[in-house]
Amino acid sequence: MESLINRYRNVTLLLLAILGQIVLLAWQTRTDADMLLVRAWAVTTITPVAKLIDSVRGFGSGPFGGYRESRVAVEQARQLRSEVDRLKLENSLLQHDLELARRAEELAGFQGTSPSKMIGARVIGATPGAGSRLLLIDRGASSGVRRGMAVVVPDGIVGRVIAAYPFASQVLTLTDPGFAAGVESQTSHARGVMKGSGSGSARVDFVATGPKVEKGERFFTSGEDRVFPRGLAAGVVTAVADSARFQEITIEPAATQIAADEVFVILDPVHQSIPEAGAAETAVFLGPDVSANSQADPTPVAEGTSPATTATTAAGRLMDQYRKIGDAQKHVFGEGLPGSLPPNFNLKVPGANAPGENAGLPSAVQPGRTGKP
């Protein structure tokens, strides 16, 4: 007997391991329970490493990202003068800084204007799989994040928290087949359930055939799921097909970058109204502004003046003013090397910007009325 056990020991252990896992699967499926402890241990173990890698990534995409771009710029501009090379490099770095600043401003603005209380988080990992996509963010239960909270970016909803660990959380993104959210269309106010499709798009189920949803219509969260507050952008309809009872609607998620670097977790949701639909974007001809014409310079245009200097618009009048100031200082626009002195635009020239003799300038550019206190 003992020899028999020893002979089949490996196979027996294999069967036990498989059987144990099948039982574990069955238990999770039947009770809808989750092995939170196991997941917590795994995520907590990997979080410090993921944060470390993320910091390295941030370092690499910062100065080294700019350096890479500059290398390309230098390669392309090898035949140009060294001065132009330096300016291009500076421009590249400044553009990078500007983009970072713009992104930060956008995020801060979103957080400041939204009535919901939210907390910013960095995406420190993703667990993509077959038809499933999760994000790992660096905010957890210690920051007030709880399971079921909504995760958004300024463009729209991203997903919801499915597990909150002490210092990190897992987010189920809206493209995951397991994701669902209550949504409402902007124009027809048709309500349905937005579900992920496993690919880049999502669909809206259970929209009755009554109110017709049009392609291009926008969907917002309805707030009925008690996860996402009402009024957050969900997506834009890309295809609509009628079936017997419901409309089959496919939408493109509003948050175009699902795996954004920074996201917000809504801690205390506040419902908002769904914005009214804007007018259709069609090419419309607009005539000249009546108020602008009434303030136009009645002075006849000098002979030989080009049509661009007839000063019928604010920009035209401003150009006329600059030209007169330049003429008074014998400056010819378009000449002179970069770095040469420009004309003194603060010089008072009668007929251009001198008091009492303005040439029909709009109030905003008249001296002493620049709008500054």
């Binding site: 498989i18 699967l25 196991v38 997941r39 990997i46 990534r57 077959a130 499933s132």
Partner: protein
Amino acid sequence: MQYAARPMASSAREVARASYPGWAYVAIPMAGLLIQIYLPLFNGLEFVERIDLPLLAALYFALMTRSQLGGLGIGLAVGLTQDSFFHQPIGMFGICKTLAGFFAASVGMRFDVEHSLVRMTICFGFYVFHQTLYWVIERSLLSQQATINPQAVIILGLVNAIIGVAVFHFLDKLRARR
């Protein structure tokens, strides 16, 4: 004499068990898991999510240690760890990788797994086996309407096999000297 009957392994050296530093059994699969989780966040590296590095790591240790229990253990550990990072019941990857590890060790005892072509074939075969078994478990045990694309599985199997040979070559450097 007992090795002479084996089709591929023709010497005792070919079926000798390799051993590795203890940290390698933990660090290598963990590194594979981290790479699979994290690299897809970089622009242009999204394809990394299709490379099953944890499977390759489990296969390597199972093949080279030529121990069925060792293969079972490392497959089980890697699979369950991978499960804990995915939004799915724990045990899906566990079952697949447990079986893959066990069978890989069995194959390792019979074939010359030092040969690159053998390694590539094994990586390809076990990748397809792993993906197919995963799909079967999804449909049969979880009753999910999962789909499988055989062409994609075969192409990805080839890609994984090529990468596997390169990774195995690198991991050979960690083998403890006797």
